[in-house]
């Protein structure tokens, strides 16, 4: 998925960065907290990423099982019932190729190891910020 030629258009909110919307990136936010879900979704959409959100790992697994694909999936560590790493493990087993970003309120190295071993690409502490999102979007476009 590369940048298209011609003038780029986007939904830049800071630093004058803009991205082509010809091949729109897609993302899924998985967080049982409403505030985080809304803010992460709004942040991604502000960069032109088509974003959906679900509350549980089970809902995410169902979506992937139904054939939905996303360039990026952001998964909260401490989801109830099916936690973040287990959710990541299940969708990787199903063949999901998405970039997976594990996210948590309290960074912990053991949680990081668990999430990365389960198939996440990165693990960060909240809040999700442009400093994290912009490089990810660049990487996904490349």
């Amino acid at each position: 998925m590369g940048m298209s030629g011609g003038s780029a258009e986007g939904n830049d909110k800071s630093e004058g960065q803009s991205f082509s919307c010809k091949n729109k990136l897609t993302a899924l936010v998985v967080d049982n907290g409403g505030v985080c879900r809304v803010i992460q979704t709004a942040l991604l959409r502000s960069y032109g990423v088509e974003t959906e959100a679900v509350e549980t790992g089970e809902a995410e697994v169902e979506l992937i099982a139904s054939g939905a694909t996303f360039n990026l999936i952001i998964i909260e560590m401490l989801l109830p019932v099916l936690n973040g790493p287990e959710t990541a493990r299940q969708i990787r087993t199903m063949g999901a190729q998405s970039m997976i970003l594990g996210i948590t309120a309290f960074f912990d190295e053991r949680d990081q190891q668990e999430f990365l071993a389960a198939g996440a690409d990165e693990f960060i502490e909240k809040p999700l910020s442009p400093e994290v999102v912009i490089p990810i979007i660049r990487e996904l476009h490349n």
Binding site: N32, T104, P127
Partner: protein, 154 residues
């Protein structure tokens, strides 16, 4: 009071919230996400934060009131409260959650109860401050002015 004066008052009031450590830069990020297609984003998200935070504080209070405290449950509630307070820029509430979690890890009920009281105080403090800020914004709009935006610090 004319619009210009109200705008200056709002800027000074907002600055004071940052200087006192009540809000951090994440609140500015929220303001950056507000635009013509989403003109009430900040008020809506902060209102959601108020609802979630009060529920979580009640849940934590009930959990600590049990004969045998389930600290896994308490930890999950604190985790969510820290995540949401960090995401809206409520710095002192966020910092309270960090301190609280240490007591949870020690399974220290007394320490947790003291810390919870502190978090509740900080929460109601930031709630009052933000409600006052939104009232100032409403007054400016009602007078025909526009709400000035703070600049990002990074």
């Amino acid at each position: 009071m004319e619009v210009g004066q109200m705008q200056r008052r709002l800027i000074e009031y907002t600055k004071s919230l940052f200087m006192e450590g009540i809000l951090d830069d994440q609140f500015l990020q929220l303001q950056q996400l507000q635009d013509e297609s989403n003109p009430d984003f900040v008020v809506e998200v902060v209102s959601l934060f108020f609802q979630d935070a009060e529920k979580l504080l009640n849940d934590i209070t009930r959990a600590l009131d049990q004969q045998s405290v389930d600290f896994t449950k308490v930890d999950a509630h604190v985790h969510q409260l820290k995540g949401s307070s960090a995401s809206v820029g409520a710095q002192r509430v966020k910092n309270g959650c960090i301190a609280f979690r240490n007591f949870c890890e020690e399974q220290n009920v007394d320490g947790s109860l003291r810390c919870l009281q502190q978090i509740k105080q900080e929460y109601y403090h930031v709630k009052n401050k933000l409600e006052a800020l939104f009232r100032l914004e409403q007054q400016i709009v009602a007078a025909g002015g526009s709400v000035p935006m703070m600049e990002l610090s990074f």
